[in-house]
Amino acid sequence: MCATCGCADGAGTRHQHDDGTWHTHTVTLGEKVLARNDELARQNRDWLRARGILALNLMSSPGAGKTTLLERTASDLAGELVIGVIEGDQETALDADRMRAAGCKVVQVNTGTGCHLDAAMVREALTALNPPDGSVVVIENVGNLVCPALFDLGEAHRVVLASVTEGADKPVKYPHMFRSAGLVLVSKTDLLPHVDFDLARCTADLGKISPGATVLPVSARAGDGIAPWYDWLRQRTPS
């Protein structure tokens, strides 16, 4: 019974009390907030699996080297793996242009003021990309170590880049992102002589935050560590 006006709960006509408050009743929903995104992600995942396509969600802060690594990967593995790319940025098609020049089919998604890709955007992009069966699709997310972590896109694996110029403390400062990573690439290792970066500490921290993750140091520019990254890719591409 309503304590304010004495009428029974669900008594029917919507009404307000003298103090302006509405007489209300509780409707239990028990619904996940991101249910719609999760459902679209599940559909994306099923669609990709049915076609034997390996989809990676590639994330990092802006400028950590995602596109440069992808350019090198596409170039070195041309003829061996077909790599399609979905590029996510607030504005411009600069990264799509680079990946097209590297020989990849690519779709650019511009989020405007949005800070992350979501499953609906990826679904549309996959339709436009139309990747062949047995290929690899890399979704290069918006540069951001915070927001993309919450949004399942339907990927098989999350690959997070942390460059040596950012400092070794990024994993502990952004645990939600790094906890979700299956592979962490410590990038730009060619710059190690010029920066203070404790690789051992970074790796140890990652062991606490994401115990199951593989950690690989890599330089796309110099080629150091690139072979283990290619092996990681090959092992997960359906043959």
Partner: protein
């Protein structure tokens, strides 16, 4: 910020489940490991409901602690940090709850 997308998802979900309803309050449950900040959601919710049928609706947010179980020693504990370590020191931990982002209920006039 992602809390805006989340606030919009809350509004969409409620509007879809209860079309036309006069919603005066939404009760959310935000797990401690969900990566979402309650204050940011409140701010974004007010922005996102402006001009909609849910304008003026209140948000009630409960933030239950996360529950984890250590795979190394079997202990169950509530982590006090997003870097989840068992008191025994092991990072090999199963998250039993804490990542949820849920609309528990709404008050409807």
């Amino acid at each position: 910020m992602h809390e805006l997308a989340i606030a919009e998802s809350v509004i969409d979900a409620v509007t879809q489940r209860l079309p036309g309803a006069k919603v005066t309050c939404v009760h959310l449950e935000i797990g401690a490991l969900s990566g979402v900040m309650a204050d940011s959601i409140r701010f974004c919710f007010d922005m996102a409901t402006e001009g909609t049928g849910m304008e003026g609706a209140r948000l009630e947010i409960s933030e239950p602690p996360a529950e984890c179980r250590c795979r190394a020693c079997g202990a169950e504990f509530q982590p006090d940090s997003p870097v989840v370590l068992c008191p025994c020191g092991s990072p090999d931990v199963a998250v039993l709850s804490g990542e949820q982002l849920k609309i528990v209920s709404v008050q409807v006039a």
